[in-house]
């Protein structure tokens, strides 16, 4: 969209994500691929080979102290890149730092969160595990494997967590097809898909 006088100003950038971006750029200049600092959900995208280093850095940094991997989510982009990409988003937060009052009052974002993203090709969706960095990431990684089919490497056995063990495929992939039945119980697929 072209910049006109009516276009609202770009949303103010999130100070915490900005700081995290600085820290990452200083330590690993090559790592950051893209970032968005404003809006409701700012994020930083890093290369998949630098993911573990970036996570460790954010966790151990004195100012950021991202001690909790709150959520790992997977997004399927079948039309991105060559042959589609899978995006894995790490939502990190800190229980040790608290936002100051002025920061808390802002409408855009008012919590000490940083979102890290990586993108991997759809044919080979392999992402190194962060289980040894945040132990709580175990169930998140299992869920992301279960629903989106991201293989986390270098961790213990990756089992399904929500769906039955013999469930066919990963249902949040865009090209997943409804089975006709599951153990004799018919499944009527939605129309118009």
């Amino acid at each position: 969209m072209a910049e006109t006088a009516d276009t609202p100003a770009a949303p103010p950038s999130d100070p915490l994500t900005e700081r995290a971006l600085d820290v990452l750029r200083t330590a690993h200049p090559e790592a950051v691929v893209a970032s968005e600092l404003g809006g409701r959900h700012p994020w930083i995208q890093v290369r998949v080979e630098d993911l573990r280093a970036a996570c460790r850095l954010l966790r151990d940094h004195d100012e950021l102290r991202m001690d909790c991997c709150h959520l790992i989510s997977g997004v399927d982009w079948p039309e991105a890149g060559e042959g589609g990409e899978i995006e894995v988003v790490y939502h990190l937060c800190s229980f040790q730092i608290l936002p100051d009052d002025a920061y808390r009052k802002r409408a855009e974002k008012n919590d000490p969160w940083v979102a890290l993203k990586v993108r991997v090709p759809r044919e080979k969706p392999e992402v190194p595990t962060v289980l040894d960095i945040w132990t709580g990431a175990d169930w998140h990684e299992r869920e992301t494997w279960d629903l989106v089919g991201v293989r986390f490497t270098g961790r213990r056995e990756l089992r399904r967590i929500l769906l039955p063990d013999d469930w066919p495929g990963h249902p949040l992939r865009k090209d997943w097809e409804y089975p006709a039945s599951y153990h004799g119980v018919p499944i009527i697929p939605p129309e118009g898909l």
Binding site: L162, L163, P164, P171, H183, P186
Partner: protein, 184 residues
């Protein structure tokens, strides 16, 4: 004593009616069965909250003889399927139903159990109706149904048990009404 307890009373001498009741064994068995339903303590999702509220003091399911929730399928004769039934849970539900002694009854409580509810269109994980798995006696719509609605479903099931009929519940109720009206 309920006036409908003695359907064969008319055969008796008026004087004997003071001390003797004539009825059918089958009828008495059904009467006991319908007034001592033991539901299984089994909830799958939010409908179970309404089921618990129905059993608690305010709605007091015990008034209808169905408030003794049993923690074992082997002691219960009514399964209230309350909540979203996923494909992962379906074999367990079937197994619980098979463990219940006959005669056994099933109430499908809430939209999810009747036909998948809000998940029926895009929810790959929800069974599109519990009647694909076990036979259902009473369908109770709502999301979730209020406690009054569950009480109504249990009353309908009690009519069904007493009347031993597969005909529609509306017809049974209409018949009950005419009967009552005729006697009065």
């Amino acid at each position: 004593m309920p006036e409908d307890l003695a359907p064969a009373d008319a055969l008796l001498d008026p004087e004997l009616q003071q001390s003797v009741i004539l009825t059918k064994v089958q009828w008495v068995k059904d009467w006991g069965r319908r007034n001592a339903l033991w539901p299984m303590a089994f909830g799958l999702a939010c409908c179970a909250m309404e089921m618990m509220a129905t059993a608690a003091t305010k709605y007091d399911l015990d008034r209808f003889g169905a408030g003794v929730f049993r923690a074992s399928p082997r002691q219960s004769d009514l399964m209230i399927v309350a909540g979203t039934l996923s494909h992962k849970m379906a074999p367990r539900l079937k197994r619980l139903w098979e463990q219940m002694p006959d005669p056994k009854y099933v109430i499908a409580m809430g939209a999810c159990v009747i036909g998948g509810g809000p998940y029926s269109r895009f929810g790959y994980h929800v069974v599109q109706g519990v009647d694909l798995i076990v036979p259902v006696d009473v369908y109770l719509p709502g999301c979730p149904p209020r406690p009054e609605a569950l009480i109504d479903a249990i009353r309908k099931l009690q009519f069904r048990i007493q009347e031993r009929t597969g005909e529609s519940l509306t017809a049974i109720e209409a018949k009950q009404k005419t009967k009552g009206g005729g006697a009065a």
